[in-house]
Symmetry: C2
Subunit: 392 residues, 2 copies
């Protein structure tokens, strides 16, 4: 096991009606609050009313910054930073899915900073001052509510980059599974894929292979997210399954699964970010569309890891390593198919004339993430494999 | 799933040579430091020298408070509190196993308090001011380095009680598995039993049964602690296994496994505390000696849970619920036997004339812990079962 630092200071208030505690939590952090959210959804599901009522009960002043879109934009974050400065906000609250929480983090990290926050994403500056971040997740998947990462798209450069820093952990997360009950089947499935891929990437790339607690943790989250997704597609309003999905997705990227595993790569996310920088697609759909081609491309080189995942997650018992690896890929694709995910870039609606541009984008992020194997030649071949994989 | 709060703010620096960072960590918390430790061991394994050298490098003043014994005593904690006050210590460092870390917590919670800290344990006072706690675990098992609990024995009353409060989480944990390399076989085994029992108790008592992520987490820790214990008894100086054991035992009681499971009882710990209040026995040995009788006593009433644990942890596939439950008990006892644990109170050296006194002690703690079924009649019958269980 490699040396590691584990420090996840997020205070999670989990369960029914926990959003009512927003006011008292913010009271301890100071106000006014900038409320960051998307568009219509939090009005429809009652979350907006709960938030406002709790803030009013504690006389917390707030300013609203709505309109975060999926694959959130730097320009919208810039406007949020200006608003937070103008109204002297002392806390930033993200109410929504991963895009909203990431935007809240980005705004919180920019209010007391003179340079453009994009410099974090390109590795040119490090985070120093961050306003306290509070989040109210309304989607299970990204895990942003319990980690220190954020992903943003630069409008002009069409780059979608990720960045993490320990100052970006939310202070408080008010996680009420009720807020996810009305999540439609597509988003439910894409969220589960996001959680699953947060396990696959360490499992298939980690430097350290002998760490039974961590690998069993990854196995646990993989199995739980897949089985719970299927249960939710059958019974979307089952509170307990929503609760399991929300808590499991928070745990997936909380830092435990990767503790001591050394260097880990996030190749599926790398490819997906390049897609959704150009195309306005849901993150989880992009991950699903990339996965079959990525698995096919690594069928030989990662057969041992694929077989082991098959044994642990799908209880595949018979056959050679190659057989088990193939069976594992089949099982994974069958899962994606059964929850109605796109299984190729073509199916996702990507035009193959954009593949070179997507490849270039991948290489920019790969350099920042120090993924040496992801050079232009390899990435181009990989994208070809993802465009129309041979294993469907 | 029940509502819950999850907030484990401990910063863990895990791995080789992390103890060298003690000075810089304490520098951020303020000094002088009270160093709490046991007797000879930390001199033999080099940990003491590492600690002092790191403190000296950062010019941190320190006072030593040595002599913590297994089943730590309130009187020794009182002396530590006096010492910390006299030398105006601003941070308390526990260097050792669970007894030492618990003593450090108790001292830290008493320095700025006027009343006797025993009032926490009897439920008469709640914690308010606690000095920052730093810990350097040298044993895997208690999990005290990553939780908010402490257990102490009242010298005169011969009561060993446990107490938990969120202010008792250590600020920093410097966990170097190297410090556990010289741990002898007995302590290694007893530590693994402690970790295992931290899983069995929620698994067999939790209010909520449908929470797949949490139950798989418990399964993970149970399997990993048992298999790693066997590996360590064969190869005591295997760093990776020591690392797995240390991190797994920290995770076992970190709050994740029990999140959302509602009310949980700790009956094996209840019984063991009563034993070691009277007899100076290692905690893990006491747990092992109680377990067979406790399992036999609940063979009928908890057959469903026992069978499920058997399926998940031991992969028992065939038979009725009763069959699987019996097989599970056999497997668990076989594990305890194979690592050379005592399997009954008699084998542990308890004199049966003390059973009534032990029963009375149990009932005192059971009242504070609100375990209604643990009245004098039931506890007496249970202790009879533990004295010479029928299932060895």
């Amino acid at each position: 096991m490699k040396n590691f630092v584990y420090h996840n200071p997020v205070k999670v208030l989990f369960g029914k009606n926990t959003i009512n505690q927003l006011g008292s939590e913010i009271d301890q952090l100071g106000g006014p609050a900038l409320l960051v959210y998307g568009r219509k959804k939090i009005f429809d599901n009652g979350v907006y009313q709960q938030v406002i009522s709790s803030l009013d009960n504690h006389n917390i002043a707030y300013i609203e910054h709505s309109g975060v879109q999926p694959n959130p934009l730097l320009s919208h974050v810039h406007k949020g930073i200006e608003k937070a400065r103008k109204y002297q906000c002392r806390v930033v609250v993200g109410i929504g899915g991963g895009s909203v929480i990431d935007s809240a983090k980005a705004i919180a990290s920019g209010v007391e900073t003179r340079h453009d926050i994009w410099k974090y994403f390109t590795g040119k500056k490090s985070v120093k001052q961050v306003l306290p971040i509070v989040c109210v997740p309304t989607l299970a998947g990204s895990g942003s509510e319990m980690n220190s990462g954020m992903v943003l798209t630069h409008d002009d450069k069409k780059q979608k980059f990720g960045f993490a820093h320990r100052a970006l952990f939310p202070r408080v997360c008010l996680a009420d599974p009720t807020a996810t009950l009305s999540c439609p089947p597509g988003q439910t499935a894409f969220g589960a894929v996001d959680t699953l891929v947060h396990c696959l990437e360490p499992y298939f790339s980690a430097e350290i292979l002998q760490a039974p607690f961590q690998y069993r943790f990854l196995t646990n989250v993989s199995r739980t997210s897949m089985e719970t997704c299927l249960q939710l597609l059958a019974t979307p309003s089952a509170y307990d399954h929503r609760a399991t999905m929300l808590w499991t997705s928070s745990m997936a990227l909380s830092g435990i699964s990767t503790s001591g595993l050394g260097k880990i790569n996030y190749p599926i996310h790398l490819l997906e970010h390049a897609l959704s920088a150009l195309y306005d697609i849901p993150h989880g759909a992009g991950l699903a569309a990339v996965l079959p081609g990525w698995l096919a491309y690594h069928r030989e080189s990662l057969a041992g890891r694929f077989a082991r995942f098959g044994e642990q997650v799908f209880e595949i018992k018979n056959g050679t390593v190659q057989d088990k690896s193939s069976q594992m890929i089949d099982r994974l694709l069958h899962f994606l198919y059964s929850i109605d995910c796109p299984l190729s870039l073509k199916e996702l609606g990507i035009n193959d004339k954009h593949l070179p541009e997507i490849a270039t984008h991948c290489c920019s992020q790969a350099r920042i993430w120090r993924m040496k194997d992801y050079n232009l030649q390899n990435v181009s071949a990989l994208l070809d494999s993802c465009y129309l994989p041979l294993i469907q």
